[in-house]
């Protein structure tokens, strides 16, 4: 079994810890199996599993909001976007992440970057625009 087990560790890097069925035990049953309580990060970050999706960030326009290129973000589609939310939006053929602002006075919306090098995007009826979901968390991997 040594080869397949090696594959598990490789394939399993980004996944929750592997729980092997008790049926594989060869010797004494471990007394630790009675203590099954554990911290589940997924449960903390995913409030609505049915409507939660994930996406990868590519670019630095949200750098000052703490969303970096290469980050994995958690998107909940069931949430209604309010002013100030970070949204996954689809605009003119591309998915992006920006802060959302509704501008009633000018009958439009704004997608606001968090990086001085970028300008806010004004969204009107002219654009092919969908708010795809609201970003609830970002997972940023440190060096290791």
């Amino acid at each position: 079994m040594s080869t397949p087990l090696k594959q598990i560790t490789q394939a399993g890097e980004a996944l929750p810890e592997l729980v092997l069925a008790e049926h594989l035990h060869a010797g004494f049953p471990s007394p630790a199996t009675d203590y099954t309580e554990r911290i589940d990060i997924t449960q903390e970050m995913v409030r609505h599993p049915e409507t939660t999706f994930y996406a990868r960030i590519d670019g630095d326009s949200m750098r000052d909001a703490g969303i970096f290129s290469g980050d994995l973000v958690v998107i909940d589609r069931s949430l209604r976007a309010s002013d100030g939310d970070y949204v996954a939006a689809y605009i003119d053929g591309e998915f992006t992440v920006k802060e959302f602002r509704h501008d009633k006075a000018r009958n439009c919306a704004w997608l606001i970057p968090h990086n001085d090098a970028y300008k806010p995007i004004r969204v009107t009826d002219e654009n092919a625009f969908v708010i795809w979901g609201v970003i609830t968390h970002t997972i940023h991997k440190l060096g290791h």
Binding site: M1, P4, L5, Q7, I8, A11, G12, A14, L15, P16, L18, V19, L20, A21, H23, L24, H48, P49, E50, T51, F53, Y54, A55, R56, I57, D58, G59, D60, S61, M62, I67, S69, L72, V73, R77, S78, A88, Y90, G93, E94, F95, T96, V97, A128, V130, W132
Partner: protein
């Protein structure tokens, strides 16, 4: 009162979740192996393209109307389906999933049709926003009438996705022009008989006597007749266990190496055996086949039916039998183009009769299999398996994958990218 929730153009809708640009575009989804149309967007239906037509036959329309095509991506469709089913299950005490994209909800907790409609309208909006799939609801006192109502909900925009048949007047109006062949439970052969007797609409059938229906269509027909007349009698819609399970592929490049063919067949075997176990069944017979191109004059093949003395769902046992069959019939220097595994003589795994001289430790087999299934369910199919099995990613390269979309929701490397 019941409701049927039916997803609109389900496979196409799944693809569109991650491709908002295709919202109003004509889109088809093709079957994995033979390239037949198995799902159509409304735009494609309006072009008159029929279900099941081979893709090459519609090439001209594909170019003329810019039809976008996908190979089927069942990892995606399965995941989206389970999201929808879990959402529905929160709104009813009894959810009966009928297919990958249909489920019946028991709405007896609703005091009135108005309340039922309101609830379905809300669920529909939740699924559309939260998951991105448009669904239709049919509400009625019987499941057969739910099917009819859902059909109206889907085809007439005025219903806004929710149609109820709750009075006798509405029932009669709904059945009046409803083609008999579209009635749930009326098969193609029955249609021919009924049409010969002058019955062309659902109302024609509902208006006949029970004796007439019994003589022509026997008991299942009588149940349908009663349901059309508003008397609920189809309780359980759980699909009967499948009679056969198959997995086969056409190779992108013909396989001449025995090891590679064995690996492919073992992967198929792993697949069908897992399906068998998921439906709590065992099988008595397995057909293993591999053949060269059908277009060659001298089509050569490996074909072997294996009979198991004790019905089994054990991958290890089945793989061993499969390898034996391949090795016995192997022809060197033969370009195998297609191969597959078909399981037959399927029965429930309760009370399996062990063969007299059975030497396998069936309990041990079962425990090992359960452990492997647990790992594969968590980490993806083919993570661990029996030699000469191989990881999924390598298996996939053997086959035509065509225009398959990424596994957006089930594989971390495949999630969408947000430009930022």
């Amino acid at each position: 009162m019941y409701a049927l929730c039916d997803c609109n153009n389900f496979f196409v809708s799944c693809e569109r979740i991650f491709r908002p640009d295709l919202r109003d575009k004509p889109v088809v989804v093709l079957s994995g192996n033979d390239g037949c149309v198995i799902a159509r967007s409304n735009e494609v239906k309006q072009l008159g393209i029929k279900m099941g037509v081979p893709f090459y036959q519609i090439q001209q329309q594909v170019e003329q109307f810019g039809i976008v095509h996908f190979s089927s991506n069942f990892a995606l469709y399965g995941d989206i389906s389970s999201r929808i089913m879990r959402t529905l299950a929160r709104h009813t005490a009894d959810l009966q999933q009928y297919s990958i994209d249909e489920a019946f909800l028991d709405l007896s907790h609703c005091a009135s049709t108005a309340e039922a409609k309101q609830q379905c309208t809300r669920i529909r909006a939740d699924i559309l926003k939260g998951i991105g799939v448009p669904v239709s609801f049919g509400i009625a006192p019987t499941k057969t009438l739910c099917k009819v109502a859902a059909d109206y909900a889907k085809h007439y925009a005025g219903y806004e996705g929710v149609c109820a048949i709750d009075t006798d007047d509405k029932r009669i109006r709904a059945l009046t022009d409803f083609p008999i062949g579209d009635v749930w439970g009326i098969g193609r052969r029955s249609v021919a008989k009924l049409q010969a007797a002058g019955i062309t609409t659902a109302l024609d059938l509902a208006g006949r006597s029970e004796i007439f229906v019994r003589n022509m269509l026997h008991l299942p027909g009588v149940l349908t007749w009663r349901e059309l007349n508003g008397e609920p009698c189809i309780e359980n819609t759980d699909q009967p266990e499948k009679q056969s399970i198959t997995c086969s592929r056409t190779f992108a490049h013909p396989v001449t190496d025995r090891g590679r063919l064995e690996q492919a067949l073992a992967a198929f075997c792993d697949n069908v055996a897992a399906k068998l176990r998921r439906q709590h069944s065992v099988c008595r017979q397995m057909l293993v086949f591999a053949h060269t191109s059908r277009f060659n004059d001298d089509m050569r093949m490996i074909q072997q039916t294996v009979t198991f003395p004790t019905p089994t769902a054990n991958t290890q046992e089945m793989t061993a039998a499969l390898l034996q069959a391949v090795r016995a019939q192997w022809l060197p220097d033969t370009p195998y183009k297609r191969a597959g595994v078909l399981l037959m003589a399927i029965e429930p795994d309760r009370g399996v009769q062990q063969a007299l001289f059975d030497t396998r430790d069936r309990d041990r087999d079962k425990r090992l299999q359960l452990a492997l299934d647990t790992i594969n369910n968590r980490l993806g199919s083919h993570t661990v398996g029996f030699s000469p099995n191989m990881p999924d990613s390598r298996a996939a390269k053997l086959f035509d994958v065509g225009a398959k979309s990424p596994a957006y929701t089930t594989r971390l490397q495949d999630v969408i990218t947000l430009k930022c």
